[in-house]
Subunit: 226 residues, 2 copies
């Protein structure tokens, strides 16, 4: 069976990307990066999703990006709340984590090489979060080309390629795609600043985009909000 | 003062690269990746080198590549010994760690972005270790271009570039360069399979290349061998 590494945060997007990988016929090796992010509860969602999708393996890889900080997700900065939804994506947000997706894809390539996977799925979207420079198709193409010439598998002609099935989808389309594949969104997590009991805040930029997308899809978001 | 991140393993090459960074007028932020490698003693060398070069900061970043394995340095494979020195570099060696330099440079970019450094020094050489695909100039150029378009600093026009001052030098030339800059090679570490007391084995591929280079330079290697 062909193998794919799936970068799985436990959020809505990566869960949908994992469901696409499964429906594409891949045996899934899930990779969750525990980057010591503010919202640790993501990791519990990732475990539930990995279980629900019957992944072959689930590696939780510790990577302490708090050693550097430089982001509202990895430093003691305030999470931006109640911003006008139209403003999201206009500039690079404070939730930008320096070089995050470069690091995540690098680690995914290391994993893919050792298990002989030929595909890496990543749930980035260039539509909803256009403020993030490391979510755009140009980045993915440049990364793939760079990795081809600098890894053993690439040199030997066993190309590992990157699949970003959501890159041209907005979040509403992503939810519709996921539901068509049977994704249970009640086990996903999105909020940047959840309550202690795990309930989402409903007003950080991540919650705002999620809630709007469910509303646009005409479906009630099944997770709990404070 | 301009700032540079230097990837510092504590080996001969990265120590020389750090000395070049210093002589280029940079304030040095040293980054040592503790990738749970077989030869942990490298970390002690890195600390000694950081101290000797009076670095502004020295981050030791844990990154457990043993979770994946796939290399004689991160798995329980035998270290290759007593290979004919002419054979080194003919094929990709078992000491190739999947995607290692991709990961290391990614983390260096994250660090550089947060401290506003505009240069990253890496001590790779395409001459001595031509078997490693992630030590070649094509890789460094592709990585730099990829990072420009996918990081906040790159997008905003504050380019972070990669300096690889040894990339076209063989190890003998590297040693001569280092000595001209006052490097104390007695505090560096190279061996893949050191004795418990830290003495180098003298017969792994890494020791063989080091010993040959010192011999070619007409200088006695100041470290201890078993």
């Amino acid at each position: 069976m062909k193998r794919a590494v799936v970068l799985l945060s436990g959020g809505l997007d990566s869960t949908t990307a994992a469901a696409v990988a499964k429906s594409d016929g891949y045996e899934i090796f899930a990779l969750t990066i525990d980057y010591n992010q503010r919202h640790k509860i993501e990791l519990e969602s990732a475990k539930r999703v990995a279980l629900a999708l019957n992944t072959k393996q689930h590696v939780i890889f510790p990577l302490n990006l708090r050693l550097f900080g430089g982001s509202s997700l990895t430093d003691d900065w305030e999470v931006v709340k109640d911003i006008s939804i139209d403003k999201i994506g206009e500039t690079i947000p404070t939730s930008y984590v320096p070089a995050r997706n470069i690091i995540f894809l690098s680690i995914a390539f290391a994993y893919a090489e050792t298990i002989h996977a030929n595909k890496i799925y990543i749930g980035v979207s260039a539509i909803d979060y256009s403020g993030y420079p490391d979510c755009r198709p140009e980045f993915l193409t440049a990364f793939e080309n760079m990795a081809q010439i600098s890894t053993k598998t690439g040199i030997e002609g066993n190309k590992i390629s990157i699949a970003a099935p959501l890159v041209q989808l907005d979040k509403t389309a992503t939810i519709r795609l996921g539901l068509s594949l049977g994704v249970d969104y009640s086990i996903t997590h999105t909020c940047y600043d959840p309550a202690l009991d795990g309930a989402a805040c409903g007003c950080c930029e991540s919650c705002l985009l999620r809630l709007q997308a469910f509303a646009n899809a005409g479906i009630k978001d099944p997770i709990r909000y404070t």
